[in-house]
Subunit: 353 residues, 2 copies
């Protein structure tokens, strides 16, 4: 097999096992599986997730959701704040043609969503909205249960929207998951006082997938679990054999002792360190360190290696963070049983608005 | 103007001024202008560079060069080691249809290039090869003048290749440029002893563009100068008004005092810090710091800001390093005189092999 490097390759046998595992974890926990498509950005893989029993698909962006809907896939959840006049028509159109839920964490976005739906041609069907809660990750999200209940009340009062529940994303680990359960219970109590029904509680994240259900969620979003990566291994969320995507690169130079150069750099593997101090793992040369990137060059420190790969040799790299790597490619070669079987189209690649 | 954020926008008036400036610097220095297309990856802009007087186009990858050739553009230089059986037919085919020069820094690549050319259907036309020299940047390149002369001799001896000269990429600053001049002079002397003609000396890099010619080069490759970025300003190679590409993002959340969230993260601006400790400059809020990215979230510390942009406001971000940002988009919106005029197709996007 002569690979035209640099080239990412996805092992579809590993993907299939990973998809079945995520589905089974959710089923065992009595939680609906809502895979996050931001990792694979592929309607083919999204279709496979639905076929295996996923209740719906989570998207991070309106553009991703449009691609999924175009392929006839749904129901869909958009798990970020969608905002802006330029998106009003797109959002309303998507709402008309697919079972859509969105999330929001502030009144400005809620009112903007309401305007988007009410100014559309068919404004009779309210858009279900989850209130995003911050239970310690400090990204987006409302930070206190009373403020969550206030936003739920506002959403309930807006004619274009319906309050559908909560979106949570607990920090990694069982303590944070348990603390989130308290937060959620308090929100439930406050909402009950106001006669607001908390229908859906959507939680997410591959690192906490094994704890699905333990924050009181009814649905679980996991993205990275389909491929896994070096970060998921470090977090204890995957084993090396659960990693489905590797980038193959050629050694193209050995310019000085202790250093070799690969034909893969930041335009192939991204500069996302994901908390590591080097740019990826070479599993077949564990003492080698991918210390630096130029756009099309990988700098590998091999000074601690017993064996140094020769110029011309092709090496495997496990990405630190697989999600932005996939987003660089329009197509990715696939293997099954160690043989190349085709190409996967990354049809939602680059759909970041 | 209602922008559908996140969205990069290129000011074509600034691009035109930047292209003219680079061309004029080269002409004043008596050096052929060979713009590096790795920054813009667009045949439309490459064509404009040729129209303005560029002698040829530099590509970092075979795949980029194929896209340029498909658009009828050339001559072309590939400024990295091209290696591997999977590339032999592609390389030979490209050599047949366009005036092509490549570079190399080791004997394995030289022999592989020779095999590629000699195993092709029409093996009569040798492929011109530059020897890549390392004069202090410690990326690729042969590190001593005698070793450069040895590789030049080998290339000269291989029937599929012809030795065409040197590829240099001096470290930033006039001292390194002057030291490189010494290196080049020594190589010239050693090559003359062996009757090897050093025809082309190709130097490059936007930070040293103002010093074009001072290493003894005959040709200059600059890429980033077409758009510029925060890094080029920091290096003194560009003024703020020379920056042609900004990413526009919406404030979508203000989850806690001192922090706002943007709808642009690492899938829009990449994680390439380019030496900075934050992810981009907000020129209209200079006290704001883009401290962290998730894939679709930008975390902005606004605790030092006198004025904080409100939820719904659209802010401009100057990328730290523009090249990998462009590589995320299939098309980029263009403006002239402050008005949207169209879209630029990034047709060599993702062509990294």
């Amino acid at each position: 097999m002569q690979l035209d490097t640099p080239m990412p390759i996805i092992d579809m046998d590993v993907v299939e096992a990973n998809l079945r595992r995520a589905q089974q974890i959710c089923e065992s926990a009595g939680v609906a599986c809502w895979p996050h498509i931001k990792t694979h950005k592929s309607t083919e893989l999204a279709g496979r997730q639905i076929a295996l029993g996923a209740a719906g698909l989570t998207c991070q962006k309106l553009g991703e959701a449009e691609v999924m809907a175009d392929a006839g896939l749904g129901p869909l959840l958009i798990s970020t704040n969608v905002l802006g006049v330029a998106k009003h028509r797109r959002l309303a159109a998507l709402h008309q043609r697919v079972n859509l839920t969105v999330s929001c964490d502030n009144a400005t976005v809620a009112r903007d969503l309401d305007t988007a739906i009410r100014s559309s041609e068919d404004a009779s069907k309210p858009l279900p909205v989850l209130v995003e809660c911050d239970t310690g990750r400090h990204r987006c999200g409302v930070t206190s249960p009373p403020a969550v209940a206030d936003l739920a009340q506002l959403i309930h009062s807006l004619p274009g929207l319906s309050f559908a529940g909560l979106l949570i994303y607990p920090p990694n680990g069982s303590e944070a998951v348990a603390a989130t359960r308290e937060f959620v219970a308090e929100v439930r109590r406050l909402c009950a006082e106001r006669d607001l029904e908390v229908g859906i509680i959507s939680s997410g994240g591959t690192p906490n997938l094994a704890l699905a259900g333990q924050s009181g969620e009814t649905a679980y979003r996991s993205g990275t679990s389909i491929f896994n990566d070096r970060q998921m291994i470090a977090l204890g969320a995957a084993r090396p054999e659960d990693c489905a995507l590797f980038v193959y690169a050629s050694v193209v130079s050995h310019p000085e002792p202790g250093r070799i150069m690969l034909d893969a750099g930041s335009k192939t593997l991204t500069s996302d360190l994901a908390g590591f101090t080097d740019h990826g793992l070479l599993p077949d040369y564990p003492q080698a360190r991918l210390v630096r990137f130029a756009e099309e060059h990988g700098f590998v420190d091999v000074s601690d290696c017993d064996e140094v790969p020769a110029i011309g040799e092709i090496v495997r790299i496990l990405p630190n963070h697989v999600c932005p790597v996939v987003n660089l490619f329009d197509e990715i070669t696939t293997v099954r049983g160690g043989r190349i079987v085709g190409k996967l189209t990354i049809d939602a690649r680059g759909r970041n608005n």
